[in-house]
Assembly symmetry: C2
Homo-oligomer: 368 residues x 2
């Protein structure tokens, strides 16, 4: 919807390293969106299976450069991501390969790779299935996909990853890596521990009370569904995000101690207040990113350096402002440029205020 | 499939007191099963709505006796159940009305009503919807429905409630009331508190971090779905089941403290062991009561007194043995009788062993 997108088609070649559930789902989704996708896995059997499933082109073991890939996504276990990403960037003779990842923790990976053409990412979608056979090309449709640009991130690299993510129907949102990690501890990592422990506690009691699991109704099933997922991915996640997980666990423990007090003392007004707050919050949980009634173009004159991109996008991302399109228009003088974004008209005033507060001078213009 | 069921049709009239989500769903389900259903509610608007929805016959304010009802189900808030049930039994001039309920806690209600024709019940199904408009005639299909006969329970009363529950596609299972209460604390009451607190913790953080709720993926949505339900039903449940809820909360707090140690110390083998146990347990969660390949008739000669019925059925219920049909055949002498049950052939040996241990002499015979 903005100008300047001509000629992008020839860049639509991607490479996926790691063909588990997420990597294979990403490959399937990109192919559905018209991209050409190559890929590899340390397990040759999984790579062959991904070829059979039509997720990637065969043969499976090409390099990104041989494949002509513009972007590589690292979908390995979390502890391996930084090494694989650095290796891909170092071996790339073209000097243009963009690398992203899909790991569930971002601070450590982003710090260790620390490269202008690396853009950390994390799709907020998953499944209790495992491996390429559990993959689903629609897994990311409507899901939020966090990107974590830093002061070093190259605008072209960010734009390309953003474009790939938007192409498969996900909603890119830029966040500071450390902030991402604190927030996913609350909505993913600690809920996972709670689900596993609720299931394990009930299973223990079921050893003595054979009937117990027959009493498990829909609510319990819903709460423990994620506990059926692959355990193998979690040690890396908890290792890399331990401080945020411990803080969120302490938050939950404090809440449960208060719930214990409420029940022990029969403080029913406090119980109803808690349940009422939770009910309102749950009913207001956005089902997916809002579809805007109208878009506006937000033009932000910026110094032409990478840090500006990260600051502007993460300020907007932190507010929940969705950026539907983005490009950098360079000025003739070379030192200055204009960051041009399409955003939801309903959020435009909030976005402008936040940017003005940081010293930017955004200009808004209606798009049709 | 057993003999002696002739002439039951004229008894298929039920009365439902309390036409909220569960009461109206039960009325709809019974009507679908061919029963005639009358009902009432302290809120005349809800009763009228239940008539409009086709859940009950109009006019809505009949008494069970006027309606010719054989069984009345009390589906009021938990604190009102005992009073309503006693009142129905005291006002019944026929001396035959059977009363059951659908409350989430059983010990206190069963103790307070304490009547041969009262059979406590609890369908293990629910919804985050509210009121008659949220009702669903298929809500109980395949759900476990706990019945809590006691030493005083009349066999005819138990048989009639069992028949009504089975008619709407639920799977009746008999349990001791106190045991029921301990088990639902683990699979319903404490999971509800966990869901509400996870949602409230995230909502608190979302005040500062506008984007947080956009990061909530499917797992978090599943875990917090029940937090969207009506808060009003919970004070009664926690008040009546406080000891079991506190014990289960302490169990969960202990597990989360151990999870904290695991993350703080990086004890990944312990983490994987926990997640692996939870995964196996979750994947083995029975989707619904098993459909038996074959049934056997289990005949248990018993002294013809009510306590025997409660003991035999709750021994089998506690093992997870489903009783597909049940009747009492009285002997000519009057003091002795035979409890005749249809059970899953695959569970017959286990059932026989448990009954022999208690001093019974069960005889098994294949049914076709």
């Amino acid at each position: 919807m903005l100008a300047g997108h001509a000629g992008r088609d020839e860049r639509r070649v991607a490479f996926v390293v790691g063909l588990g559930l997420i990597g294979t789902s990403l490959a399937l989704a990109l192919r559905k969106a018209g991209w050409t996708v190559y890929g590899t896995d340390v397990d040759a059997g999984r790579a062959a299976r991904a070829v059979e499933l039509g997720a990637i082109e065969g043969p499976a073991a090409l390099e990104p450069a041989e494949a002509g890939a513009a972007v590589a996504f690292v979908a390995t276990p979390v502890r391996a991501i930084a090494g694989v990403a650095r290796d891909l960037l170092e071996r790339d003779a073209t000097g243009t390969l963009v690398v992203s990842d899909v790991g569930g923790v971002k601070g450590e990976v982003v710090r260790r790779v620390d490269h202008p053409r690396f853009v950390g990412g994390h799709p907020m979608a998953g499944s209790e299935q495992e491996g390429p056979d559990g993959a689903d090309g629609d897994l990311f449709a409507g899901a939020t996909w966090v990107l974590t640009p830093t002061a070093r991130t190259d605008a072209r690299a960010f734009g390309l990853v953003r474009e790939a993510v938007a192409a498969i129907g996900a909603e890119p949102v830029a966040l500071d890596p450390a902030r991402h990690d604190r927030l996913v501890a609350l909505v993913s990592h600690v809920p996972h521990l709670a689900a596993a422990n609720l299931m394990d506690l009930a299973a223990d009691a079921a050893v003595e009370h054979g009937v117990l699991l027959r009493l498990a109704a829909g609510g319990f099933r819903d709460m423990t569904r994620i506990a059926a997922g692959d355990p193998a991915i979690w040690p890396d996640i908890f290792a890399e995000n331990a401080p945020a997980v411990l803080a969120a666990l302490d938050g939950l423990a404090g809440r449960l101690a208060e719930a214990r007090r409420i029940v022990a003392e029969g403080d029913w007004p406090a119980l109803v207040a808690l349940l009422e707050r939770a009910k309102v919050a749950r009913r207001n949980l956005p089902p997916r990113a809002p579809v805007p009634d109208a878009l506006v173009e937000c033009r932000v004159p910026v110094l032409d350096r990478p840090g500006v991109l990260a600051e502007v996008t993460t300020v907007l991302g932190g507010l929940g402002v969705n950026i539907f399109d983005l490009e950098i228009a360079h000025s003739a003088e070379g030192e200055r440029g204009v960051l041009v974004m399409a955003i939801d008209a309903g959020q435009a005033d909030e976005a402008r205020r936040a940017l003005v507060e940081r010293g930017y001078r955004p200009a808004l213009r209606a798009l049709r």
